[in-house]
């Protein structure tokens, strides 16, 4: 392909592009819009949860008949929580994170002209775009959007008699998610093939930056687990439309005994969580990869224990496939099976602990530059540790009995997976913005954005642990009628206030992002003085990434402050000095 900067039409350059850099921007900007929708939904239902039954004009403005007199309708509440969860987990933190940064960084950091298949890559984005539109559109249909929780457990998700959202809304949810899985599979296959086959000369697997290792393992997890979700969805659709009974048995609803017998609702949960648990790591691992790169670069110090970091990524990836039933301790599953899953789940804490300690040791005696990306990466390590620790409690089946489906769980997974992954995403955007748009984001606004976000993030989700320990169930439209919950009731408005401030502070980011695209300071080639190959490409995007020959790699990605060199960074393409021992 080489440097072929031929003239292109608008459509082939910005719309149906096959260039990985443009596709990564398409993923990012789509995900940002989905993120705005998802966060707005959370503010709407936080208004109801913080001040149950109060009237808010803004709700009526946005929700219309779903919030008569400014009070959120109870079915609309369930629809909002369901779609908020779906959008944030899949559309923002899976497609937004993996789609953006795998696409941008894999070819650039391994020294490839583009993805193995530009065409599949383009399809991957357009499947994602269509599925995003369909998911948002499902909010507008009669009966409202899917309202059975983002885990859509049957029979609730099968029977429109049980909840209005299980009508047309659920059908669209299922179709949208099927398209989403297609997008994810096309992307993941492409990432795997590209990483295995298109590494430039000298780029051995052990010289890969940790970002690429993280994207690689994430893609493998996606390829192995997402198809199982499609199976679950197909069976669910058949139960809904063709009268099968995979998930239904002995049901009497709406004054009528249904025909279905012999199915099991628990089967769906096994299939769902076989995707659902690896999905947690599909969301988290890219964020960990990004933070590894950002922390090493901005500590001016090699990442501590590179091999242990790669090994723990692999261990987490493998273990994530054999822990799914820890979501199901109280479904009536055999308690002995539960014991096995307690064991495997707690094993994951070991590689996670190794990662956390390695991050901290990387900071130790470093020379830390507080770029916004660095702040978010350190924040990520904090949320990863804080949220991971409460996971130890939930993994213990005897304790999960009391805490299952309470606010404790909500606090846990929002910190360990929500905040960590979104921090990783912000870190990535601040760090590689100049690689995407050729300009720099404003640093001072970045500081304000970070400090407000981490404060509000912990402000929202930390108190939820106490609400949950007191026994407050999640997904309650209103829990003020229960006397035993009055002890922690005053935390709910505090949480909502933090949620509102936190959401508003994202406007700083949005402004900074869009303003900087057009008016930001022009970037230099290697602003962060980083080692990896993407910083050897020209600031202006060209097809094929490098003018002339592909760079050759002579060393690993983490030669920061190497005493053998004058500068505190050494590009991967710099040949070894005489007598220097390479990695």
């Amino acid at each position: 392909m080489g440097n072929t900067n031929h003239k292109e039409s608008f459509v082939s350059k910005f719309v149906f592009t096959q260039d990985h850099k443009m596709i990564s921007k398409q993923f990012l900007i789509t995900a940002i819009f989905m993120g705005i929708a998802g966060v707005m939904m959370s503010v709407f239902f936080r208004l109801q949860l913080g001040w149950p039954g109060e009237s808010f004009a803004i709700l009526e403005t946005f929700m219309g008949k779903w919030a008569p007199n400014g009070v959120l309708d109870r079915n609309a509440y369930l629809a909002l929580t369901t779609i908020h969860g779906t959008i944030m987990v899949f559309f923002v933190l899976t497609a937004g994170l993996s789609g953006t940064f795998s696409n941008l960084l894999i070819p650039l950091q391994i020294g490839a002209r583009d993805m193995a298949s530009g065409f599949l890559n383009m399809l991957s984005y357009w499947f994602f775009a269509v599925s995003s539109v369909m998911m948002l559109f499902s909010l507008l249909v009669e009966g409202g959007a899917a309202s059975a929780g983002w885990t859509i457990y049957p029979p609730l998700s099968v029977l429109p008699q049980a909840i209005p959202g299980s009508g047309m809304g659920m059908t669209l949810w299922l179709l949208s998610m099927t398209l989403f899985v297609v997008s994810s599979l096309l992307g993941s296959l492409n990432y795997i093939v590209t990483i295995i086959n298109l590494r430039t000369k000298g780029m051995s697997m052990t010289r890969l930056p940790l970002t690429i290792w993280a994207f690689f393992i994430t893609a493998i997890l996606g390829v192995l687990s997402f198809p199982v979700l499609v199976s679950a969805i197909v069976l669910l659709m058949m139960d809904r439309m063709m009268g099968t009974a995979f998930y239904l048995s002995d049901i009497f609803i709406g004054g009528e005994a249904l025909d279905a017998t012999g199915g099991s609702p628990i089967l769906f949960q096994h299939l769902f969580w076989f995707l659902g648990h690896p999905e947690v790591y599909i969301v988290l691992l890219p964020a960990l990869g990004i933070s590894s790169e950002v922390i090493a670069t901005n500590s001016r110090k090699p990442i501590f224990g590179y091999k242990a970091m790669v090994g723990s990524l692999m261990a987490i990836g493998f273990l994530s496939f054999i822990v799914w039933a820890h979501h199901m301790f109280i479904t009536g599953m055999n308690p002995f099976l539960g014991s096995v899953f307690v064991f495997t789940t707690l094993l994951i804490a070991i590689p996670s602990a190794v990662k956390a300690f390695n991050y901290i040791t990387t900071l130790w005696k470093g020379n830390l530059r507080f770029t916004p990306a660095m702040l978010f990466s350190i924040g990520l390590v904090s949320t990863f540790v804080t949220g991971g620790l409460t996971g130890i409690i939930l993994a213990d089946s005897a304790l999960d009995v009391t805490l299952h489906d309470t606010y404790f769980v909500v606090g846990h997974f929002h910190i360990v997976m929500g905040l960590s992954a979104i921090f990783g995403m912000f870190a990535g955007v601040y760090h590689w913005f100049s690689k995407m748009f050729g300009t720099m984001m404003n640093t001072k606004l970045g500081f304000a954005h970070f400090w407000l976000t981490i404060t509000c993030g912990y402000g929202v989700f930390f108190p939820m642990h106490f609400v949950g320990l007191a026994g407050a169930p999640r997904r309650y439209y209103n829990s003020s009628s229960f006397d035993f919950l009055s002890e922690t009731a005053d935390l709910q408005p505090i949480i909502s206030v933090f949620a509102i401030i936190g959401s508003l502070s994202q406007l700083i980011f949005l402004f900074n992002f869009f303003y900087s695209i057009f008016r930001g300071q022009k970037a230099v080639q290697n602003p962060w003085k980083s080692n990896t190959l993407e910083w050897t490409t020209p600031v202006e995007h060209i097809h094929g990434n490098w003018p002339g020959a592909l760079p050759e790699v002579h060393r690993w990605a983490y030669d920061y402050s190497n005493p053998a060199h004058e500068e505190d960074f050494v590009l991967q393409s710099t040949p070894l000095k005489d007598g220097e021992i390479g990695h």
Binding site: L78, F252, P335, F370, I378, A398, V401, D483, F511
Partner: protein, 440 residues
């Protein structure tokens, strides 16, 4: 109002853009580059980590003080060991939380950027890494062993003299069932559910009653369909064609033969019936969709009836008939009672979707799954009265909540639980409605 909000937003964005422009111009004048973090910014962010740490820890400690005694003491035997396990795990994670976060917040302050310093070139340290792999492994092993010990105890089989209580869930309430003097629950079937038999308990009378009711429903629907005008007119035209104009259509072969005299008589009497209905003015006009919906409903009811006809009684091991023992089962709504110090085995069933029976004060929870009975055992250790004294709250009640999203009124699906002495419990149980009595 909306216009005003919009105006404020637009003006705000413009103001921000102008501010940014000014900032950028001044930055250019100073020769400032975004990637260069000034010393002042480094100091500020370094200090902010420490400020953040102090505020974060202070609020954490405040929350533990203010909300730390999250739930009243466990009111069940296994609940006490669950609480011990919880406190043990909490102690470990709180310790690790403070240690790791402290390092994480102090290092950025301590090692903030200094252009005269070079970072330590440290690649790895096998000894250190071994320590932080082995130590967490040992701690986790202890957590696993302690946890599984508690788990095995609480999920083991219930003893033979445990009281068995069935908890039945539906959108959006709970029903409890206690067995009668025979100590057995009557068999149930979801096909027999009626307003007067909410649990679908099978009895001879119940089967007969359901049979009659369903047949009645089918007949009523059929009666409506029988007087639908459009279908009657179509049928009338067909019969007339067969009787009079059979050859007008030019049929040949087997189809065109004359109807037999018997058949003709039958057709004529049917024609007469149709004309009677049409002239009586009782005929209904229905859309095709409504007609088909009714037909479909009849078809479903017929299959429902068929399933009831297929029900067969069987004998329990002690010789009692499965259709007999249900007659003295006691059905309880609103609140249910438990005797203190006795082991209770709950059997959970659900009628429509998955619910979850959550009893936070007993540290107990189990999903109720349609088609799959589930179990949970517990022994209450504190009576409602004692708990009211402990909490100094005369209105306190133990509670059973739904904790699995189950529909629009999910948040309102609860039932009170009363724990009392064996004597009071016996007296209460004796007063409860017996199933067969309810049928009359």
């Amino acid at each position: 109002m909306k216009l005003l909000i919009l105006l404020v937003i637009v003006v705000g964005v413009i103001a921000l853009a102008q501010l940014a422009k000014i900032y950028q111009l001044s930055a250019r004048l100073r020769g400032h580059r975004e990637e260069e973090i000034s010393e002042a910014d480094t100091r500020m962010n370094g200090a902010l980590w420490i400020v953040f740490m102090i505020v974060f820890y202070a609020t954490t400690i405040w929350q533990f003080v203010r909300y730390g005694d999250y739930l009243p003491p466990a009111a069940s035997a296994h609940g006490e060991s669950v609480d011990t396990l919880m406190n043990f795990n909490l102690a470990i994670i709180i310790f690790v939380f403070f240690v790791v976060n402290t390092l994480l917040f102090i290092f950025p302050y301590k090692y903030r950027y200094n252009k005269n310093r070079k970072a330590l070139f440290l690649l790895h340290d096998s000894k250190l890494e071994l320590i932080w792999t082995v130590v967490p492994s040992i701690v986790l092993a202890v957590i696993i062993i302690f946890g599984l010990k508690t788990w095995t105890e609480m999920t083991g089989p219930a003893s033979d003299d445990a009281i068995r209580i069935e908890i039945y869930s539906k959108q959006f309430d709970w029903t409890a069932r206690y067995s009668g003097d025979d100590g057995q629950f009557g068999a149930t079937d979801f096909n027999l559910i009626t307003p007067s038999n909410p649990l679908g308990i099978i009895t001879e009378e119940g089967v007969m009653l359901a049979n009659v009711k369903l047949t009645e429903k089918i007949d009523n629907l059929q009666a409506i369909l029988d007087i639908e005008k459009v279908h009657l007119l179509t049928e009338k035209a067909e019969i007339e064609a067969t009787l009079h104009g059979g050859d007008a259509h030019g049929h040949d072969g087997a189809d065109s033969h004359e109807p037999s005299p018997d058949h003709t008589a039958h057709l004529e009497s049917r024609l007469h019936d149709i004309e009677t209905v049409l002239s009586s003015g009782e005929a209904l006009v229905m859309t095709e969709a409504a007609y088909e919906a009714k037909e479909d409903k009849i078809y479903r009811l017929e299959r429902h009836l068929q399933r009831i006809l297929e029900l067969q009684p069987y004998k329990f091991s002690d010789g009692l008939g499965s259709w007999e023992v249900g007659k003295d089962d006691r059905i309880v709504k609103g609140e249910f009672h438990l005797p203190i110090g006795r082991e209770i085995e709950f059997i959970f069933r659900s009628r429509d979707v998955i619910h979850s029976a959550f009893m936070p004060h007993f540290r107990a929870q189990m999903n109720t799954v349609p088609g799959l009975p589930t179990r949970f055992k517990l022994t209450p250790t504190i009576t409602t009265d004692s708990m009211r004294t402990i909490l100094d709250n005369p209105d306190f009640n133990y509670i059973l909540l739904c904790n699995k999203i189950c529909g629009s009124a999910h948040f309102n699906m609860a039932m009170d639980i009363v724990v009392e002495s064996q004597e009071k419990y016996d007296a209460w149980l004796a007063e409860q409605k017996v199933y067969t009595a309810e049928q009359n």
